[in-house]
């Protein structure tokens, strides 16, 4: 019996190791290329371990685009979006779970149906609205369209629904207002969901590309993914410096990977089982 279990255990490890290698190789290749000479990408056969480490690509990449500014833009806009989504989602979920009003079911149906819309189908009208408001090339354009999220409302509603009714009733009898019930009872109990919403939303907006690409045109407000894409599309006198592109790629990826590793313990799997938008 132990022999069979051992074999099955080994097979499982073999499969999982293959999967982990599949996930890791492109990232390791990226790091390796960032430390080799620019022409290394064309070498045949490819060389995985560099002969000698050329760290100079990192400072050059940092200067090639205003990356410091772009870090600030990415982090500030993503954070503002998260804060907005937590507030709007909590208020909407409160109404949907604690208040009785005509059309409540319909309102919820409408909110979750927004999760199925391919976001790019909204971009042309949204662009017209944003440009009429003179928000093009400002933080407003990057943040305001995203401060309400159907996905956020959905998650928060799920979390509020499992809070026992008796708890809310008791608070109400003690004279607690809506504001107190929301901020002192429901939100603290929904903490894991709030963290998950914040994390997923941060990943989505830190990584977002299409919308920031069309509503920004100066480095003042542009975000990291745009900086990366600009590096490959603008060739210098010597063509694209691939080692610098790879180095920039590494320093855009590393912070979010570190954040993920530290935060993943706090993410609730149930919240992950719903698509993000």
């Amino acid at each position: 019996m132990t022999g069979r279990r051992l074999r099955r255990g080994l097979a499982a490890h073999a499969v999982l190791t293959a999967a982990a290698v599949f996930a890791a190789v492109p990232l390791l290749w990226l790091v390796s290329l960032s430390l080799q000479e620019p022409e290394a990408v064309f070498r045949y056969p490819p060389r995985f371990i560099p002969d000698r480490l050329l760290w100079s690509s990192y400072p050059s990449a940092w200067r090639a685009q205003p990356f410091a500014r772009m870090y600030v833009n990415s982090v500030v806009t993503s954070t503002l979006i998260i804060l907005g989504q937590i507030v709007t989602s909590a208020l909407a979920a409160y109404a949907l779970t604690q208040l009785r009003f005509r059309g409540r079911g319909l309102a919820f149906l409408f909110i979750i149906s927004t999760m199925m819309v391919p976001i790019q189908a909204t971009f042309i009208p949204a662009y017209i609205i944003v440009s009429r408001l003179h928000w093009i090339d400002t933080y407003w354009a990057l943040v305001m369209p995203f401060v309400a999220s159907g996905f956020g409302v959905f998650l928060m509603r799920q979390a509020f629904l499992v809070v026992p009714r008796e708890l809310i009733e008791a608070a109400r009898i003690d004279g607690a207002s809506h504001r107190i019930i929301l901020t002192r009872i429901l939100l603290p109990l929904a903490r894991p969901t709030v963290i998950t919403l914040a994390a997923l939303s941060f990943v989505f907006h830190y990584n977002d590309f299409f919308w920031p690409l069309i509503v920004t045109n100066s480095a003042r407000v542009r975000t990291l993914p745009i900086g990366l894409a600009t590096m490959i599309l603008t060739e210098g006198a010597h063509g694209t410096q691939w080692n610098q592109v790879m180095a920039a790629d590494v320093f855009v990826i590393v912070p979010i990977l570190i954040g993920f590793v530290f935060l993943q313990r706090h993410l609730t799997p149930t919240a992950l089982t719903t698509g993000v938008k």
Partner: protein, 268 residues
Amino acid sequence: MVGPVLLDVPLSFMHYDMIAATGRWVGLDNYRALAADPIFWQAVAHTLELAVGTAAPLLTLAVFFALVLNRRVRGCGVYGTILFAPYVIPLVASSIAWIWMLSSNGFVNEVLGLVLPVHGVAWLDSSAWALPGIMLVTIWQFVGYYTVLVLSGLQGIPHEIEEAARIDGAGELRLAWSVTLPLLSPTLLFCLVVSVIASFRVFDQIYVMTGGGPGTATMTLVFYLYQQGFAFLNTGSGASVSVILLAGLMGVTWLQLHMARRWVTYQL
């Protein structure tokens, strides 16, 4: 910010000047122009190919990995973390890495060369292989995400049912096929719907890796929308592509939910 999608409908019947912010009604002109554009039809075909070519492998791999992870071998937490990691990386960054995974001297060809007697092509320069290349980076990015989804579905299956089947003498394969998969089917339906929606939204990979090319080999509806609406400033035409994208996706989603009655089992 989904409300504005409704404005696509009137805009799709207009010639709209984005800069002057004025438009005039032109009836079905935008739609007629689309129907007459062979590139539009290629974009439709590529969008559907991309949906099948990403959703099917993603779900198959996710079920396979989740079944293995669910055995709880030592270190499965670490494996899960590594497999999920690509999901948090900006797609623009992944796409840059994959440009050189898929080059003629790249890693994918090196690995293929070990098992098959092939001389690798430069995937992204080949009109036959560029779209599969886009599928590959998409699968790499999202396989961990769907594995986590399937895994949490698996963990929701009560142990008693599988135990009972085992006592009745069901082997491992039989158990997986006749008990676990049917009980997992609601999760699989969810993953299918979400992954198809996600495949319709693919943009970053195409922008960075191929720009819709070579030729129009990786032109999809969303990339066509980008070109019409934002590169060529044909706002009305872009709006009509948006309407088609939305209607098409609603149709595809409805079809999946409709067919689901045949294969999804809900527990009593």
